[in-house]
């Protein structure tokens, strides 16, 4: 149906005229990153060597991959505290199967099915039982860690077949395989997030759930899908980790949720949902790993890293809040200042 809605000569042609062709939103964080690299290198030249950079990137691969999943979850307005426990559980089960003589390929399939399945269950509980994501995944975090400890009975697993260890320790053209896997996964995530209906729907549900529902988006399906996706990313990240160190135990990944959430928030994804950035999460995860690495090289005790990460998370959320003008008293203060300048 052609609806003529133009009142005579009143339709301005200024629609979309002022759009910038090229936009680079992660500029600030990129500069911070470059500055940090410069500072670390100045303090200790060993930091900036190519081999150390490759080490940092290899170490970062697991966090980068799981941060991708977390970006979708947080953008959707959710949170997942259970990533570390899922990782501990599925890697122990995988190792147990391989140790028991199962074909490693089959064990891999089972591990991924399990990590995705746990994500789906998390999503179903959140979507259909209306349990807040924070509580549902906190429950999963504790429960699954318990299951992992029960399953492994304190065993330390090690000794995977060479063919699988290649995933964590091999190289292609002198580049460690985990870096390549992580890079591919980041590219896939960026494409999903920015160029597919799924990505837009995740942002829509996180930004305005009711509007998303009214426009026909299957909100519950999106809910379950993002937790399934982070489940897959935990499986992949866990696989790279255990093949890199050739071992696992039931406590592997304990406390990693705070690092992953920190990476995503430092990147600029809003904890309030609706707005997320894959590039930011990548930088956030790299930044944390770099910091970690620099502190290790400087000989700083591990416990200080916990102190640093904890403070960084709170600071990052605060910075985001300032940017999004969410702080009431600060907003009023700004308003008064602006008014004072006018007079």
């Amino acid at each position: 149906m052609a609806i003529s809605t133009v009142p005579d000569g009143r339709g301005p042609k200024t629609i979309g005229g002022a759009d910038r062709k090229f936009r680079f939103e992660g500029l600030g964080l990129t500069l911070v990153m470059i500055a940090l690299i410069a500072v670390f290198a100045a303090i200790n030249p060993r930091f900036a060597t190519l081999s150390n950079m490759l080490t940092v990137l290899t170490q970062a691969s697991t966090y980068v991959i799981i941060a991708m999943g977390m970006t979708f979850v947080i953008t959707k307005g959710g949170i997942d505290l259970s990533v570390g426990s899922i990782l501990g559980l599925v890697t122990c089960i995988f190792f147990g199967f391989v140790d028991g003589g199962m074909n490693p390929a089959l064990a891999l399939v089972i591990m991924f099915a399990l990590s995705i399945g746990i994500g789906v269950v998390n999503g179903l509980i959140i979507a259909f039982l209306a349990v807040p994501a924070l509580i549902a995944t906190l429950g999963a975090m504790v429960t699954l860690r318990g299951v992992a400890l029960l399953h492994s009975e304190g065993e330390l697993y090690y000794g995977l077949p060479e063919s699988i260890l290649w995933l964590g320790q091999g190289e292609i053209l002198a580049i460690p395989v985990p870096i390549l896997v992580a890079a591919l996964f980041v590219a896939l995530s960026a494409w999903l997030f920015n160029n597919t209906r799924f990505g837009v729907h995740v942002r829509a549900v996180g930004g305005n759930r009711e509007a998303a529902r009214l426009s026909g988006i299957r909100v519950n399906l999106i809910e379950v899908a993002v937790y399934a996706f982070i489940g897959f990313s935990v499986g992949l990240g866990g696989l790279l980790w255990i093949t890199r160190i050739d071992g696992t135990q039931a406590t592997l990944g304990t406390g990693m949720e705070i690092h992953i959430i920190a990476a995503v928030i430092i990147g600029g994804t809003s904890l309030f949902g609706g707005r997320g950035t894959i590039y930011g999460s990548l930088l956030g995860a790299l930044l944390l790993t770099m910091l970690n690495n620099a502190l290790v090289i400087a000989g700083v005790e591990f416990f200080w890293q916990l102190v640093a990460v904890g403070l960084i998370v709170v600071a990052a959320v605060t910075v985001n809040n300032i940017r999004e003008d969410r702080i009431g008293w600060l907003s009023r203060l700004r308003g008064r200042r602006a008014a004072a300048r006018k007079t």
């Binding site: 149906m1 003529s4 809605t5 979309g16 160029n195 609706g274």
Partner: protein, 256 residues
């Protein structure tokens, strides 16, 4: 003043309700409402706060399910379980909250839930260029400036947001357009433009159900007026035979 009693089974109506009731807990929000919208008319739905207007249009747009009664399209009973069911039958609603996602940009909001895709190497992905192009040509029909399309819509004015909400409905070429207080949040000038737009849409064959508090607006554009009070249909009057005093009486005292 004559009162038109809608016969729900009559397919003179594009969309009609028969004995529609909705309860919120023990509270009766809609009480056996039988009402019809004729092909190509603007039917204005008026009534005080809490009269049941919003509940009725939610039931018609699939946003909630009535507890009793049916919805008929051209005389055939239809089931609207989700907003998608309504959309598929050509019923589109602009809710008072506009239903925009603040963090998404203009084309993403316009195409929300029905994004255009193209195949690249057999994989479906968003066709951003086409969505942007069609959004522009859609918005050029409105007398409103919108310099940026790829910024989050939270940065736009009330009129601009209203325009996006309406233009988004025209995209799917609906048969029935339901508008909940489209002029409420707008300035005088912007409100006038939306009224003009509503009339032009009717003139090009669209059927419109308009909810408004503003009787002045209603008398300017509507063909018939239906009055709700306390969840019941007080009556329906053609604008040509109605007086403001009569309609106010119906709204206030519930008597035709």
């Amino acid at each position: 003043m004559s009162q038109v009693q809608p016969r729900a089974a009559d397919d003179a109506y594009l969309l009609a309700t028969k004995g529609l009731s909705k309860y919120y807990g023990g509270l009766c929000a809609l009480d056996q409402v039988s009402l019809g919208v004729k092909h190509g008319e603007i039917l204005a739905l008026v009534g005080d706060n809490g009269a049941g207007k919003s509940t009725l249009i939610k039931a018609l747009s699939g946003a909630l399910q009535p507890d009793r009664g049916e919805v008929l399209m051209e005389g055939e009973p239809i089931l609207l379980k989700t907003p998608r069911d309504a959309t598929e039958r050509g019923i589109e609603a602009v809710h008072q909250s506009l239903g925009l996602v603040d963090e998404l940009d203009v084309p993403q909001n316009v195409f929300l839930g029905r994004e255009l895709t193209r195949s690249f190497l057999g994989i479906r992905q968003l066709d951003k260029a086409e969505m942007r192009r069609r959004t522009r040509s859609l918005l050029e029909n409105f007398s409103i400036g919108l310099p940026t399309l790829n910024e989050p819509v939270r940065r736009l004015s009330g009129g601009q947001r209203q325009t996006i909400a309406i233009s988004r409905l025209l995209l799917s070429e609906p048969r029935l357009l339901i508008m909940d207080e489209p002029m409420a949040a707008l300035g005088v000038d912007e409100g006038q433009r939306v009224l003009d737009l509503v009339k032009r849409m009717r003139d090009s064959g669209l059927t419109i159900l308009l909810i408004s508090h503003n009787l002045e607006h209603v008398f300017m554009v509507a063909d018939r007026i239906a009055v709700l009070k306390n969840g019941r249909l007080v009556g329906t009057v053609p604008v040509a035979e109605a007086t403001r005093e009569g309609v106010i009486g119906m709204i206030t005292f519930g008597t035709a």
